[in-house]
Symmetry: D2
Subunit: 437 residues, 4 copies
């Protein structure tokens, strides 16, 4: 691919507030990754955001003085045609849907979260029909293109595509990136010298080992983490892990593990936050409003600092890095969502895992890993089967699969599954064609 | 084995209130299963019970007029020496320990139950050192004998023996027997014409199919169960399964599934019962007291009807049936706990599963089964890993393993694991040599 | 099924010289297995044989005085319609094709045998299109019927049906039956008291254990076999196994193992036999001619003794036994070809294995088995992959698959694969529609 | 490891004629791989060779003007103590043993080859006791060192160490290196731009894919290979692959596949060569004699060109590259023999495979690979089980395992196994302590 001149990229959900980050990412890599055409695509309802952020994008590119055309369009097929890379960062139903995903479960006294638990299932059910449509367009119009998926729940969406389409796809998440940075900080090492051995599912990933020049420093990392004061992602309460939990686990948990390991604390926090400042979705809605005001400023010609507080930092940078590794056949390690294919031997071959992977022009090779310890296996397996059921429900509109997905999810209480599921379907029905019968 | 005259059986925990049932079982099968010597063994603390129930046993045998010697002893090695079958029905720490297993978790607002969840783990930790001692005696004194284990948690104990001893062992539980009887009642068929395809773990077993003369009637069974009014075991509240749950599951859940599928309802019920009539252990303690009064009656020469209300009905009958199938190389199907060995392909080979199995003189062959659906896999796998960790904790006194066992158990809330575990170890320390350091 | 009155059986290849054996089998089991209608089906080219053997069949039934109608027909669909059981014993291309299967490989200096090696592949390629046609008829006209397949290569044919049709199918072979009888003779035991643990592929099956009342006598069996003088099947030269081979193998090899373990001796024997009395096919052609002369005798009203020398003895009896076990939900053990489904963990789930299996009205459960030793695994796996390739070649007319099937087969020399394969296809082209392009 | 100054390397079998190549390899990489101490170790019988080649090594280092001390020693423990890397290139029994490995099988009319078939087994049996001794020394004296094994049969030896020692080990072979070079020549590409996807066992490795900048060129490679005239290794007759074989295989076979795919041709060639110029071992013995004459020349201060004709070219260069990748945590791809651990899902986890692997300071990660096609699986599996048995025979002196290893090996004829094995053991008994009883 390296020989190709003039890369074409299509970004679905181009009106997102994150767009300035990906623009910055392409600008600073322009020498090694010569993006010639960048299509920012959005839907009618997102046109006003696309206009604002697209205009900023154009100013950023002009300021940088590079040869890259930024196109704004509502025509997804035009954007995808002959693209080399497609990135997805859209949100079906916008932030209002996210707020529902948080509030409906809370109403039934279970965790309400954008990607994890019942809220994550709702988001998956809305997103699956759309992502399969995009995949169909790609199969027709850009069969050799790579889809780099950021849309959450990133693992489930990537697995849906892996199972139900023929396109080349990798999923991305900023969580391992943030964990990598935190681990480097804890070990007082340069980020570049650190190699994290991540394994698991998206938003349920463990740092199994932490290599500094070939030496595994995971014990030191866990000891220091238990003693010190370090923070990870923005959008999740920062409860400290206990020494006992870290030592018995023997791995670095991800921020989202708090939902599983500290369920009641997280639930109480959510309930109280919902009463005071609002759910995270409501907070973000405010942040976004502010961001778009800032973006409107015609003198702004670079990514504004305020974007950092938005929550998904490093996402777009990780994506640009990954795209460059593929384009340049780099042979570097990245943390991606990729088909398991026997890597994690306690999960099915066709599951999509999140794993440290070798990336070249021919794609991703998740690094081989030994059998995982029981404490990791058990949780991984039950959440994986929840994901399998959610995908079946999302693709086929299978109520029974959705019912059982919620029933076995560790964060959902069995007694209220029917009421919860019926609320989810009823209140999202406009976005659930597969359940409209 | 069939040619052997004069079978010797050793029953460990012979002072149990269940003993009259096993005596009755041997009496009524004496023609096909000529038990010549039956040793009822107990420990010093159980001597008074052994004397009462042993005396009843002798009266029952005399009344039956069969050639069977009943020996009462506190010398376990004498009982085991050259035995053909050893059965285990003891309870380490007696009913007081059970009551603690119920009350400690409830104190932390999680399910407190004899075999399932935190209470089951406590029971396993107490029982493992004793069962391994028994196995060592058997390896030395009766290496060809079969151990038929009833002691709960029956799956975990059987798996411990399968992994950490060389003896021949099968685990038994009355739950599939009760489910079989209920299914026959629902289908209005003779119990003998029904073949249930059970699969899972002990106390987490599903009825996958229900064959009447080769035809699978599981849908009919589930439909009628959802509509009708049928009851299963005595010791678990009888909440009805919803039609949605049964249809989406597609299998017959076991009574203990209520803890997983209806957690909050069960927890509330437990909390209230503890306040009113007492925990199940406290209720049973009263029942047992009454039973032993009845057993004392020198005119009583058969199993009294009152034993039925005790909860573990059909246990001993299933055991006698199993022993006879081995002794007579019958080639019949039984529901046993047996090494998985690839039968359930989503569980490790060395796990012990509960499964419809073919029994002959050479042991048990769990029937081959197709891949299980995700809703069953997920729950099965996480509970299986909990069991794996519990066994490691029980055998090696591994605090970290116990910590993670509770952490991943679906019925335990992560935030309180440390306090809960420390309470369990502290209050059971007299029975936990592996943790006495 | 038991309740059904008036079983209908269709026997494809009803003009076979074996038919009197299956008639005898149904006659002697008529009380437990009330076959009401038996359709003997054949093709135009076999009509003269069908008339002769069909007439004998009718005389046998009349003599027995049972209520069973024997129909002779060339209309396969009429025979299959609403049948309860279909049995297959046809030979595509008749004995002349078999003789070619023996002579073509010999011409290239490799083993020429009806079922094993290049000859077996040729036979599979001819048979697969026909058996898939039969399966299509069954899917349409008798979807609940069982197909009991005797047609060789029995394992490959059964696997083809298991992979490429929806019908219920079990494969049968007389080899384990003959081995069982020989083992009983060696151990001086009653056949009924012996339980052989067979595992492998059809015509590549090992006797892993030999239980007499629960005790494994395999060592004694192998020792006595090495010392004594015992014979197995008729159609394979009776070379004795060496003590070293038996001891290092640790299992009872099947007669066909001589092709793998004593290749050169068998090849030399074949070459010389071909020169003197003719290949086995040529010998059988003579035997059959004689048999049909005998069958013509209108006074003959039972299976003539001369059939014994034909080679496939006990086949039909095993089939009747199996049919009765299904019909009566007997729960007995039989040696059948059945979908692996994880039983032999070194073979794919969708392979068909030959294994001691539990048979009931709901079908066959191959008995669970521990991991096989390397000496068995290696040979089993390479022959299994040969079979996989042969099935692909047979179903899709895939020349490359056929080429590689021969290339990896242990009995075929790589240097001559092209010439050998081209001869096979050219000389069988009338029977190979999938290769006619 | 990178920070360490002054790397220590111990080369066992330092008197080998290959040593100048490894010296050259260290000299040219001295900047990135600062070897400070190089110990060339040999045994008493090899002292004269060690003196000659060691002296040349010292002259080469002096000429290069680098800071590296070359030590010659017969004290293996001194050499291993605190080493960072140990390389093995010894041959137990010297070339005379190799000649026996070629001649004994030929005497029984089967392939006689140094590493493949019966000769390879003999070599493994001699080498295993010595390599396990070396591993024991390393466990004691240099527990963190890497063993880079070249000693043949490289896969079997590496697997023995992986199963029966605790040291860190990787196996190397020049075959994939030579295949890579040939593939680059065929595709007319730069070697550096080509990424070969190799998978299999040592000396039974297939080139599955050939990527040029992310595009798989395997079809083009096979087409051109079938048409053109390209050569691979020196020591194996260069029979061309037929178009049919390459197309039906769909992968690039390795030179040693000729033994499996063209057995008779290779056997005839061997028989004739043995009669005329002598076996390959006899030829090499002559070449070596000449080489040592050249090495004696005190004016020679670099690797002489004549070494190229010796046969194992690129071996040492590949080793230096691998050592540098580990030392410098390079993250590059190498073709190594490494523990399978689920990579090839049709082989056991504890087998050692040959595979394109990612190498860093923490070791080797064999790249994830899809399920292999049946034609590759079958041969791979049977040879893998031969290797498993050979290792058991070599470690435990297990005659039965050796017997069955030969029995299932595709290149050995079953009828003569006993005679062949007895000859091997008798004529090698001085080097087989495990069989001396």
């Amino acid at each position: 691919m390296k020989d190709k001149k003039g890369i074409k990229v299509a970004t679905i959900g181009g009106g997102s507030s994150y767009t300035p980050e990906i623009i910055e990412g392409f600008i600073k890599r322009h020498d090694e990754l010569p993006v010639k055409e960048l299509y920012l695509v959005d839907i009618e309802a997102g046109k006003w955001k696309l206009d604002i952020v697209g205009s900023l994008a154009k100013r950023m590119v002009e300021e940088a003085g590079i040869d890259m055309e930024v196109h704004l369009t509502l025509d997804r097929r035009e954007a995808i045609k002959d693209a080399d890379f497609v990135t997805t960062q859209f949100r079906v139903g916008l932030l209002d849907a996210r707020i529902r995903d948080e509030k409906i479960p809370l109403r039934h006294n279970v965790i309400g979260q954008e990607t994890t638990g019942a809220g994550g299932m709702a988001k998956a059910l809305r997103t699956i029909p759309v992502i399969l449509d995009i995949a169909k367009d790609m199969e027709e119009l850009a069969p050799d293109a790579w889809l780099i998926n950021f849309t959450n729940p990133s693992g489930i969406i990537t697995e849906t595509l892996s199972k139900y389409s023929d396109i080349k796809v990798l999923g991305l998440c900023n969580v391992p990136v943030v964990m990598h940075k935190m681990a480097a900080e804890i070990l007082e090492s340069d980020e570049k010298d650190l190699k994290m051995d991540f394994v698991g599912l998206n938003h349920l990933v463990w740092g199994r080992k932490a290599y500094l020049n070939g030496e595994n420093k995971i014990s030191e990392l866990l000891d220091k983490l238990a003693e010190g004061d370090f923070s990870d992602v923005e959008n999740i309460p920062d409860y400290k892990w206990s020494k006992e939990l870290l030592q018995s686990l023997g791995m670095l948990p991800c921020p989202y593990h708090r939902y599983y390991y500290l369920t009641d604390m997280m639930l109480q926090e959510e309930i109280e936050a919902a009463k005071s400042e609002g759910t995270r979705g409501e907070v973000v809605k405010g942040l976004e409003k502010d961001l778009f005001e800032i973006y409107k400023d015609q003198d702004l010609k670079q990514k504004p600092e305020e974007l950092e507080s938005r929550g998904g930092q490093y996402y777009s940078d990780a994506a640009c890095d990954l795209i460059s590794a593929i384009y340049n056949d780099k042979g570097t390690l990245h943390y991606v969502n990729v088909k398991n294919n026997g890597t994690v031997n306690c999960l099915p071959d066709d599951s999509v895992i999140e794993r440290t992977s070798y990336i070249g022009a021919d794609g991703a090779y998740p690094l081989n890993v030994e059998a995982l310890p029981p404490q990791v296996k058990g949780l991984l397996q039950v959440v994986n089967e929840y994901e399998t059921l959610t995908i079946e429900a999302g693709v086929h509109g299978d109520y029974n699969a959705a019912y059982q997905a919620l029933t076995i999810h560790p964060l959902v209480e069995g007694s209220i599954v029917k009421e919860l599921l019926d609320d989810i379907i009823t209140e999202n029905i406009d976005y659930l064609p597969q359940f409209q019968r």
